[in-house]
Amino acid sequence: MHRLRSISGRKAFLKDHRFWLIILTIGIALMKLAIIPYPWPELPPSKCMESPLETGCALIFDEAHYIPAVRKMLKGLAVNNEHPPLSKALMILGILIFGDNPYGWRTLITLSGALSIYLLGEIAYQLTGSKKLSLLAASFFAFDISSFNLSSIAMLDAPALMFSLLSALLFLRRRWILSGLVMGLALLSKTSSLFVLAALLIYKLFERAYHVDRIDDALRKWVFIFERVSFAALAVMLAGLAIYDYSLNAYDTPFEHLDYILNYHSSLTFKEGDIVYMPLTWTNPFDQFPRMPYYAVSIEVDGKKYHTIAYFGLQTPLWWMTWLVIGYQLYTAYLDLRDKRFPSFELFTLTWIAANYLIYFPLAHIVRRWVYPFYFYMTVPVIALAFPRILEGERISELMLYIMLGAQVLWFIIWFPVKPQWLIDFLLTLNLAI
């Protein structure tokens, strides 16, 4: 009897979506950890402090900004003040634990990137109650190669997204203050997390307005949530900035620091003749921004040239689905509203996409603010969440969904930044090696 119960307990465990989410998260985390030492620096840290930095520093993409900044912060200097300090503090912690090397710079960032996969799965489950959709959303995101690359290097984005997703999950679970506190950590990691906060609050405003008859009652209930989430977030952000500012003697008050951040980011405008990859090129498969080598080492063997290390920023099959997702969500939202149902899922995803992707259209085209394709990283989880919903349900469409997932995984394998030799050889035989 005891044995039977134990077997059924084991089976139940396997049916739990969280188990598979954890497996997926651990799997991706292990892949990320495995490639951390590539590239490994040939130059000592002291020679990798000031621009121009040599290839021997082994810094990938914007690590060239953050790692020298982190090293100076370790010496008590206040630098790179245009960005809040938490992501850099995580890099410092990593360096203190693992030393000033790629493990030190990237380990904690990498883990936060992997954790986002689990959190996205939980958000999907929270919104839909579907275990299948939870796993599909997490898988699409886990095998998004650009997101994988960006969250495997020492940049600000992975912790910002991880805290944003955790905050969103707590928000959906109505843990307002806790959600706000975690959002404060996201803001302390990267200020653009503010767009996520805006998306959550706008989503909730629509929800209140739909469910409550009188507009003033709806607003009153919304303000109750707004206060708890926003004030908690603001308190954490200001406290974090204050600690940084007072300990490194950077600014008189955290508000003055915020002023600098705001002014700096407002001043990043482009002029005629500058090459800017506008937001449509991030998602349009027919007019893509060029694939960007963040860090690439190529060799030639037997007349065949290939990359041994290839961190690229590029569109993925999932990114191509963005406009389909937007159109479909708008349509199903309309159907729900027509049938007197509140389109909760659609509104959540649409407000997120609007606040984290569509916002860059006016910013780039009207304000002429510099925009970069890697900004799309904050939107990818929601595309991964909404896309499976389109095809889920019917056999044929689900088959297409799995084919799409297969394409996403294939893309992931082809563009994986540090491939083992056997995989390179295999891809070379198929003429797929990059």
Binding site: D216, V223, T253, F255, E256, Y260, L262, N263
Partner: protein
């Protein structure tokens, strides 16, 4: 109490205000009115908004022009301006008295708040605030009885200092029916917009010089200068100010407590506590509402001390807008006390509702 007693206190108070700012005095206390004389619309009798710009809305400009036309020289201008203010001061007291009689408010409080307040003495013959308050209070007095006239007066108040725009949602909430609310909004906002539109068509410089001009000013007596001590960061301080104001006003509009006057007081207090430019004469706006709340808040005397102190120490401070100067310390003290009074009024209203439901 007979209204004669209120006037017998108010007029000497006004006379004192007239005297202390008089341009004939060597050690006079500063008044904006005297400086208006040196502006083209007064000193050179240029038509306001058409021939010369003025940073206050149309009624303020035309009254200044009228005072200059009557006055002839600086002393005459000052006296004519003071007489105009006196007329409106009388309207202010009369309107507040009538509202107080309806609300069964102790009229003695009108003497304290509208006649003996240091702010009233220092800042009545000073700027357009008494004129503005008088038109607004008469508008609120007529809100229930003669709604159309009230709406016109509301629009005229906006044409004097426009800050009563923040009271509009409070007033609208007390009007029954959407049709009536829309009509009230159309009349009040329409009168404000139509006058400005005519002037704008005559001279397109009106908008930047009259309204947008204030956006270029830095922080003045705002408590959050403690967060933004460096004036290079004041543009961000203004964004902070607008966000805080939006939130605070939304809270007041959504608050179910209080009547028209209590909610108006709360809206004005929020505005004054969150605006980046809280000049001391703006305290005149809240005095009638304080009187109508039928009690003297504990912090009132301290508020008056701080508010009067700002102008009395302003010109003896080398850099009065800088954090660390005496006027700014007084401004911070004033903000703390006003915030205390605001919270006290809110909690008082909550207690009153609890009593009523018990």
């Amino acid at each position: 109490m007979k209204r004669e007693l209120i006037y017998s206190a108010a007029y000497p108070s006004f006379l004192l205000s007239y005297l202390i700012h008089h341009p004939g005095l060597r050690n006079r206390i500063y008044s904006d009115i005297v400086t208006f004389w040196f502006r083209p619309i007064a000193g050179r009798l240029k038509l306001p908004y058409i021939e010369a710009m003025f940073e206050y809305p149309p009624i303020s400009g035309f009254l200044t022009y009228l005072a200059a036309l009557i006055g002839g020289d600086i002393h005459g201008f000052y006296t004519a301006f003071s007489i105009i203010i006196l007329i409106f001061y009388t309207i202010l007291i009369e309107s507040t008295y009538r509202i107080a009689a309806e609300k069964r408010v102790n009229e003695f409080l009108l003497i304290i708040f509208l006649a003996l307040s240091p702010s009233m003495i220092l800042y009545s013959v000073y700027n357009f605030d008494v004129i503005f308050s008088a038109i607004l209070m008469s508008s609120l007095l007529l809100l229930k009885r003669r709604r159309s006239l009230s709406a016109i007066l509301f629009g005229l108040a906006m044409l004097t200092k426009w800050a009563n725009l923040i009271i509009l949602p409070v007033a609208l909430m007390l009007i029954e029916g959407w049709k009536n609310r829309i009509k009230y909004s159309m009349i009040s906002l329409g009168s404000f917009i139509s006058v400005n539109l005519i002037l704008y068509l005559i001279n397109p410089e009106l908008m930047p010089e009259t309204y947008l001009h204030h956006l270029e000013w830095g922080l003045e007596n705002a408590w959050f200068i403690v967060f933004f001590p460096n004036n290079a960061s004041w543009d961000t301080a203004k964004i902070f100010s607008f966000m805080l104001m939006g939130y605070g006003l939304l809270k007041v509009y959504l608050c179910k407590l209080g009547d028209l006057y209590e909610k108006s007081f709360m809206a004005y207090s929020v505005f004054l506590l969150t605006t980046y430019k809280f000049t001391p004469q703006m305290v005149v706006w809240i005095l009638p509402f304080l009187a109508l709340m039928n009690r003297i808040p504990w912090g009132y005397f301290m508020l008056e001390f701080a508010n009067a102190g700002i102008i009395l120490t302003w010109f003896d401070s080398p850099d009065p807008t800088r954090l660390g100067s005496l006027p700014q310390y007084l401004a911070i003290l004033r903000a703390i006390i006003l915030f205390y009074i605001l919270v006290d009024v809110y909690l008082g209203l909550k207690r009153r509702r609890a009593h009523a439901s018990a």
